[in-house]
Amino acid sequence: MVSGIVSYGVYIPRFRIRLDEIARVWGDGKEVSEGLRVFEKSVPDLDEDAVTIAVEAARNALRRANVDPHRIGAIYVGSESHPYAVKPTGTIVGQAVCSSSSFTAADFEFACKAGTAAVQACLGLVSSKMIDLGLAIGTDVSQGAPGDMLEYTAAAGGAAYLIGREDLAAEIEGFYSFTTDTPDFWRREGMPYPEHSGRFTGEPAYFKHVVSAARGLMERLGTKPDDYDYAVFHQPNGKFPVRVADMLGFSRQQIEPGMIVPMIGNTYSASSLIGLAATLDIAKPGDRIFVTSFGSGAGSDAFSIAVKDRIEEIRCQAPSVQDYIGSAEYLDYAMYAKHKGKLRI
């Protein structure tokens, strides 16, 4: 059964803070930005959260392919910043995109890969013909404690994918997941900010899981890096995806269109999905795209994607990733702190 992406949509808030401005406040110097290869990050408006971002991305996905929202049979939203601990984000998204009430919904949480886990769940329901269309969303207004290294990259954004069997803009040829119990990054119940294990988030976490999932998928499909025109890897900073691409044998040219972290930061559950959207924004029919997400805790989902002719028909019907990146308004640290609710009064 051929299943894949019927449409996609993204949303990135228009506010940005430069990493040099964060470094100025904490006395860290400009080398932080250069070391992370991240220069700016997106910041939500005062009235934006993971729900509003998910809705905007989902509306863009529906608009791009002019899809009847009543066809949606499942809405799965991946995030680590759902505004309600109990009350699903998917219920609000469903009502806001005018779906019928005849759909199943659940919120997913798997650090930065909850969005790709939602894609997999939709693929299962769609491929088994239990539903017509599934809406999978990765959305986050991620948190980083003031002064913590996470604060330099924790950004906001969302990506929504309509998964179906007909009128595909891109076929998902297969996926492979690699999951272990690795405590590299976590947030306990009721705590406002996550904790992490510093350098432990690298080799045993990000690199081991991304490489294992990517190699597992290529082995399963009998493909190699040269078979792909583009590749997207989760982007916690600007260094890791470049290094993991080198380790796997992908070139800088293959990952370049999807490298969005230098300008918007790490959008967590949306990171690899926005990277994929930026690649779909420029891909041609017949191109193949390799995508691997990573979520701390830890796991990776790798996907092999083949772009179809229909991409040309739908691409221009909604704003591109570059449209959002190009529309930016800069904040100083004080305004950023207000936007992020870091000031408790």
Binding site: D45, D47, T52, E56, P83, A96, K284, E312, P319
Partner: protein, 146 residues
């Protein structure tokens, strides 16, 4: 704690998606929705209608001293917007503090309208922002491929 959840819940269709009514007899659109068409009265044919949400700014003001619920958001722009189908609505304009102009084209955006403190429900709904049209066109993509 006191919650206004039922009252908010009843207005979700209007707040999220600008759902109003349309009289097919006189072709007038109403927002918020009306049970009776003031033009056609008993002869009206009213149907539910979801507004596109695009429209133009009729007039606006910048709020510097807000009520308690909005005091952390100041300054912000509050506008009367004429929807393309005709009705006028009052709403916040986001993402353009300095750039709002009378006649400016706007689109609907989904935002937080308010919260019942730290523990209560979150009110979501529609605000307005300047139009954002996709920059890409079929011609541009075709020229990239050459």
């Amino acid at each position: 704690m006191t919650t206004h959840a039922p009252r908010f819940w009843r207005s979700i269709p209007q707040r999220y998606n600008l759902q109003g009514t349309h009289c097919t007899r006189c072709n007038e659109y109403f927002f918020p929705p009306r049970n009776v068409c003031p033009n056609c009265r008993r002869g009206a044919h009213l149907e539910e209608y979801t507004f596109k949400g695009t429209g133009s700014v009729v007039t606006y003001t910048t709020i510097h001293n807000a009520t308690e619920d909005f005091e952390r958001q100041t300054p912000y722009n509050l506008a009367i917007i004429q929807l393309d189908e005709g009705p006028r609505v009052t709403g916040q304009i986001v993402s353009a503090l300095e750039g709002v102009k009378i006649g400016m084209r706007v689109r609907p955006v989904f935002r937080i309208l308010g919260k019942e403190g730290e523990r209560g429900i979150i009110y979501y709904g529609t605000k307005f922002a300047p139009l954002l049209e996709p920059s890409c066109s079929h011609d541009k993509i075709s020229s990239q491929k050459k």
